[in-house]
């Protein structure tokens, strides 16, 4: 796909493929409060980086038409405001009320430790970092904070977004969002600061890391060079212990063997009671450093922070920002994510085949929604599954509301 083709493709994508009704259903939250959608800020990045903020829409139709007309390169979702962003953005009382609690993980933050790629690139090997990140965050968010409605979305190139959509999460204040993400961002205070590895939540995270660590170690070859070795050894505060391990490192070549040697030595020392409070948890410290999710905390903290919407098309890669099923996150391959041109080819192919099979252009093929003809279908299904479980929450609150109004 060339750059000048992109707007044309985008045009087709917004006409035929973007799942407007599901999208509208999501952000209306059962229409318990109509403001949820009416006062929601959207912002568009148009051709040549023209950026327009504070768009809002009254109906699904308006939303759909506007997007098809403008054909934005990127759609960002902002907060729900106390009044309509489009009309009242300049009023002094205009302020953000609520927004999904969001988490952003970007592969570039792993550049210090990943050895396979760097910058914008991402491969199946470094995707394992994301697998670990999603597993750790899924567990912590669900178990520790008790939220259930998590939408995981591929960010289009090299990262993942998480939208936490439970009502209590959407209503959090910025200070509460800050505490939440600081709780999760074990590594954020710089690499050198050790965290309390005895915290039950951190312990569980370390457990998850351990499950994946051997594969990660083999793929990333963390202990391949002397430079990498010394970086890892800097987590061991005891010089003698470091010496012992270094000696073993020189006997072995592969990362796997070296890591085994390290854990054996540390365990032996631990059993003999030779480790002090500084070195006792050095293996855990290293595991966290090498595999714990690296989070962009500022995205989470701001109530008014914009985040790229699901089902956007990444202008550089052409990939769709598709929802991910966290249960099978290890099967997700960022390099086989459907791209806009593949999808459009798929529609054309399908229509052509249908025409060949049923010569007289049968009605049934036309009635079929276009996304169902393509590999986007799987992603829309994941989105719909998320919506179904979300729907149960507003069924409850709708009943409550009608009880209050005494409308039967």
């Amino acid at each position: 796909m060339s750059d000048d083709q992109f707007p044309d493709y985008l045009n087709v994508y917004y006409k035929k493929l973007f799942p407007y009704s599901q999208f509208h259903k999501w952000l209306s939250y059962g229409n318990v409060k109509p403001e949820n959608f009416l006062n929601r800020e959207f912002s568009f990045t148009l051709h040549e980086d023209i950026y327009i903020r504070y768009q809002s829409f009254n109906t699904l139709q308006e939303f759909e038409t506007e997007i098809q007309n403008r054909c934005p390169f990127k759609i960002d979702i902002g907060a729900v405001f106390n009044m309509s962003p489009k009309v009242c953005r300049n009023y002094p009382q205009f302020h953000a009320l609520e927004k999904e609690l969001v988490i952003d993980i970007d592969m570039t933050d792993y550049d210090q430790i990943r050895t396979c790629c760097s910058g914008a690139d991402v491969c199946q090997k470094c995707w394992r970092f994301m697998v670990i990140a999603v597993k750790i965050l899924e567990r912590a968010i669900r178990d520790d904070f008790g939220w259930k409605h998590l939408l995981w979305v591929f960010s289009g190139r090299r990262g993942i977004h998480c939208w936490i959509c439970d009502e209590s999460a959407r209503k959090l204040l910025p200070s509460e969002r800050g505490s939440f993400i600081d709780y999760l961002a074990v590594l954020s205070a710089g690499d050198s600061k050790r965290c309390n590895v005895n915290h039950p939540s951190v312990k569980r995270s370390i457990g998850i890391i351990k499950e994946e660590f051997n594969s990660l170690l083999a793929e990333q070859d963390f202990l391949g060079t002397t430079e990498q070795c010394s970086k890892v050894l800097s987590f061991i505060a005891d010089e003698k212990l470091k010496e012992q391990i270094n000696l073993q490192f020189s006997k072995y070549q592969s990362s796997i063997q070296r890591w085994e040697a390290l854990t054996v030595i540390v365990n032996n020392n631990h059993k003999r009671g030779l480790l002090n409070f500084k070195t006792k948890h050095c293996v855990e410290d290293i595991l966290l450093y090498l595999a714990y999710p690296r989070l962009d905390v500022n995205v989470t903290k701001g109530l008014n922070h914009l985040l790229k919407s699901p089902f956007c098309v990444h202008p550089k890669t052409g990939k769709i920002c598709i929802p991910i099923n966290p249960k099978v996150i290890e099967k997700f391959n960022p390099n086989t994510v459907p791209t806009i041109n593949v999808l459009i080819d798929e529609i054309n192919e399908y229509d052509k085949k249908q025409k060949e099979i049923i010569n007289d252009a049968n009605l049934s093929s036309n009635r079929l929604k276009d996304y169902k003809k393509t590999s986007l279908l799987k992603s829309v299904n994941i989105f719909e599954e998320f919506l179904r479980s979300l729907e149960n929450t507003w069924k409850g609150s709708r009943i409550k509301q009608s009880d209050i109004k005494m409308e039967f």
Partner: protein, 495 residues
């Protein structure tokens, strides 16, 4: 409190049900009752004594073992005959409900009276809040578990008890936050109520609830209490001018804090009046913070604004008259700038501090609290050396002061552990060979006055000493040089 004499016992009965149903409270409602003026004063003074006991004992520095600290406070309160607070602290001693209510009423009223007295300045407010928090913590720690829970539910803090069942399931997870002691009770609360604990991963979370160990519960409640009290004191201050006009107790609430918080040294009653001629000698009796400023002034011939404020006001409190102060600053500053610039930029400020310019307020010298709480930037010399200087530099300062290495080490340790005022007191002892008459130093001018007293300092007989100038680090300046400047200056003033 209602200061108009009208309401009757009807109100009182209602209050007994709401305000007096717990030994401990957050003082959220102002009592609407009648008390007579004697009670007004007596109760306030009683509470003030309690707060003072807390301050003195915590300044003594034996807070490392909290249980011992509690014991010594309770003992002292009993010794001072503050029986109402003593019984309230010990909880549940009153069998008679009315008597119990009476103690709680005293607690409530005295707290609000002291609010009136301690709302007047930032420093007073800080002092009062810190003491009230100390008292609150102490009283909390002596409550029974049921009383703690009752307190938490009465004050809408949303904490609930952790059931046996939950406790068993979560024992391991919660256990990682247990402290060595055996008092490891847990309370359950929505995680958004304890954001700091969550942020620092200091609490176990499950399903949106934080399982908070009792020592942490109190830090959360104290946080609430502190911020509420701080806001209320500011509000109180806004109304202070009206309330203090009440002739029945106006004078009482205006001046009580002075008789009990120590002197503020705004008016010098120094037996030895300081002068430019004697200052170098006297500076040996200065506390370290001021001694250092003096040295820097003499060697750099300049001090930055905050340092000029801290040192200038101290000198005023120590008895340096305005004219002499001008001479001192002028003689130093003009070594680096021309006299014109000094007169334009600096002399106004000095006169201002002495209440001769602008608002004409007679400014008070900084107390230790104010100096310790202040911010000190790089290349600035004001502040408290025990707090704001790194240990290397502090060591050098102390070594220049001619005290034993052992004392230096003790002082360094105290300062590293955050006991700045005790470190200063230790320095006083090392320097003068005896302890100050009070428990701890809490004002630089107090340090100076006490050391002067010990030396039986007499200006006249010591002028010669200052000219001899033995091991002092300070370059002495010829007296006639001062005189000449003085003459010049006086001439100029006359013109």
């Amino acid at each position: 409190m209602n200061f108009t004499p009208s309401r009757k016992n009807v109100v009182l009965e209602k209050l007994q049900k709401t305000s007096y149903d717990h030994d401990l409270q957050l003082y959220r409602e102002i009592p609407d009752i009648n008390i007579n003026l004697d009670e007004f004063e007596e109760w306030a003074i009683e509470r003030l004594k309690v707060l003072q006991i807390l301050e003195q004992l915590s300044l003594k520095g034996n807070t490392s073992n909290y249980e011992d600290f509690i014991k010594s406070v309770v003992h002292e309160i009993k010794k001072e005959g503050l029986k109402h607070m003593h019984k309230l602290i010990n909880g549940g001693i009153y069998k008679d409900y009315n008597e119990n209510c009476d103690a709680r009423k005293r607690d409530l009223c005295s707290h609000f009276i002291l609010r009136l007295i301690y709302c007047k300045s930032d420093e007073l407010r800080k002092w009062f809040i810190n003491r009230e928090i100390e008292l609150f913590k102490l009283r909390w720690s002596l409550l029974s578990k049921t009383d703690k829970l009752k307190f938490l539910s009465l004050n809408n803090t949303n904490y609930s008890a952790v059931s046996e069942e939950e406790h068993q399931i979560m024992a391991d997870s919660m256990g990682s936050f247990a402290t060595a002691g055996n008092n490891n009770e847990y309370f359950k609360v929505r995680w958004t109520q304890v954001l700091d604990l969550v942020r620092n991963r200091k609490v176990y979370l499950c399903d949106g609830f934080a399982y908070v160990i009792q020592t942490d519960v109190i830090s959360g409640v104290c946080q609430t209490f502190r911020s509420e009290l701080s806001q209320e004191l500011v509000k109180c201050f806004q109304k202070f001018s009206i309330i203090s006009e009440d002739e029945r107790f106006g004078a009482f609430i205006k001046y009580l804090h002075q008789s009990y918080m120590g002197k503020n040294y705004s008016v010098t009653e120094n037996m030895s009046t300081l002068s430019v001629n004697t200052i170098d000698h006297s500076s040996k009796s200065f506390p370290l913070c001021m001694k250092r400023l003096h040295v820097v002034l003499r060697s750099e011939h300049h001090l930055k604004h905050q340092a000029r404020q801290q040192y200038g006001l101290f000198l005023k409190g120590a008895g340096l008259p305005l004219e002499q102060a001008l001479v001192l600053w002028r003689s130093e500053f003009t070594k680096k700038m021309d006299a014109d610039k000094f007169d334009k930029q600096y002399s106004y400020n000095i006169r201002h501090n002495y209440g001769k310019e602008g608002k004409k307020v007679n400014y008070t010298p900084y107390s230790c609290m104010k100096i310790i709480m202040g911010a000190v930037g790089l290349d600035e010399y004001h502040g408290c050396p025990y707090k704001h200087t790194n240990s290397q530099a502090l060591k050098q300062l102390l070594e220049a002061s001619n005290i034993s290495t052992q004392s230096i080490q003790e002082i360094l340790n105290l300062s590293q552990n955050g006991h700045y005022q005790i470190a200063c007191t230790k320095y006083f002892e090392a320097h003068n060979g005896v302890s100050p008459s009070c428990t701890a130093i809490n004002h630089p001018n107090q340090f100076f006055e006490e050391s002067q007293k010990l030396k039986g300092f007499n200006i006249e007989s010591n002028i010669n000493d200052s000219q001899v100038n033995d091991s002092s680090v300070i370059d002495d300046i010829e007296n006639n040089e001062f005189d000449q400047t003085m003459v010049d200056f006086v001439d100029k003033m006359d013109q």
